[in-house]
Subunit: 162 residues, 3 copies
């Protein structure tokens, strides 16, 4: 007797590395997880910057790795809005506003995602191109390629590209 | 006897507030609705600007609310292209071109969506952060949070993030 | 006896025309196809620039068609990154880095997609608005509207908007 596996997982490919996109991705992920769904997040391209430690060092990187590290925002507190950043003013205003409304900011959302056992994957090709070591990223990530992404997407009834 | 509910709805999370993204979202939504599918649109972050009335007042808003209102495009006729805006020239050219080809512009697409009973939802968190009142938005919207989005997404076989 | 058709195709709507978005779309598409899935790509708005021939002529175009052709990047080797382009330097660095890591660049990914029989569709409305002729685009494309997109999306368990 064959039995069909019901797909109910949710997968999010996080491609963008701006604060607004990151907050949207984590709000959806945490929301879905709190409703009981298994959630997978695959961080690729600019999205991997969201997972960088803020104490990132460039010491042991090659030239290109140093360049990519210095030119990109590192970690959740340093991301900028994709619009209305206005040299940081718009981003600062948005964060202030969220705090005053008791809305969880990005660092807190990431901690919630970790405590809810959301499956967070870092793209292997992105790590290689940008010269990012495991040590540069927060703990508990699974390093995967596009096949790893397809595997979780195939278990999901929704896959978002953010 | 158990019966599985066939998921055939379509859900679109409209996150971007640029003219090109808005037109893509509404073209897909109206296209799907005209083929007989139930369509849900959830407007969040910059996407909520698409639904603003053009006569928006800042009178009763607090400081932050006034700032967000003044700094963002209000309503479908004032949105800009995400690329090639060129101080408004590119956006103007694109609209002229569409008109000359008898392609529906955004205000018309929104009216079509409303007349086709497309379920349009405004994100409660976005409204709060940006200081947007119900009165600032077009009529007939349902105000919902991420749980409301997940509910319609769970009834859908496709969920797009635009 | 009724039989339910299992949906396993993958559909990608390619809306963005930047190098990073194009590479993400084709990496997912080629990855999914190599795992045995049928993949559909629908190129609309800026995404259609990815499919332009690099020898594009403006000779027989009207004024608007000439303008759109001259102002937009034509073909896979001329696309820029959406972030960190830095007047072309960032894009050049990224390509160099990928080459040195033996990662397939965009022109190669497109050839792989063609050889894997990935269904590539060009949006009819975009062609009309931007004044693009069949001859301006690479061979083997199917010209479709939103109904064509919905048809393949309805056969798919995943539809991404990139």
């Amino acid at each position: 007797m064959s039995q069909e596996i019901k797909k109910t997982d949710k997968t999010i490919m996080v491609f963008s590395g701006s604060l607004d996109h990151a907050m949207a991705a984590f709000n959806i992920a945490v929301g879905a997880a709190s409703m009981g769904f298994k959630v997978h997040m695959f961080f690729t391209f600019w999205g991997i910057n969201i997972l960088k430690k803020e104490t990132l060092s460039i010491k042991n990187k090659d030239f290109m790795g140093k360049m990519f590290t210095l030119m990109m925002a590192n970690g959740p507190t340093r991301l900028n809005l994709s619009k209305m950043n206005m040299g940081g003013l718009g981003t600062w205003m948005m964060k202030k506003r969220m705090e005053s409304k008791n809305i969880s900011l990005l660092p807190e959302l990431i901690k919630m995602a970790q405590s809810m056992d959301i499956n967070m994957m870092a793209c292997d090709m992105t790590k290689e191109v940008m010269g990012i070591e495991d040590d540069d990223l927060i703990d508990g990530l699974d390093v995967q390629g596009v096949a790893g992404f397809m595997d979780v997407s195939n278990q999901s009834d929704t896959t978002l590209f953010i």
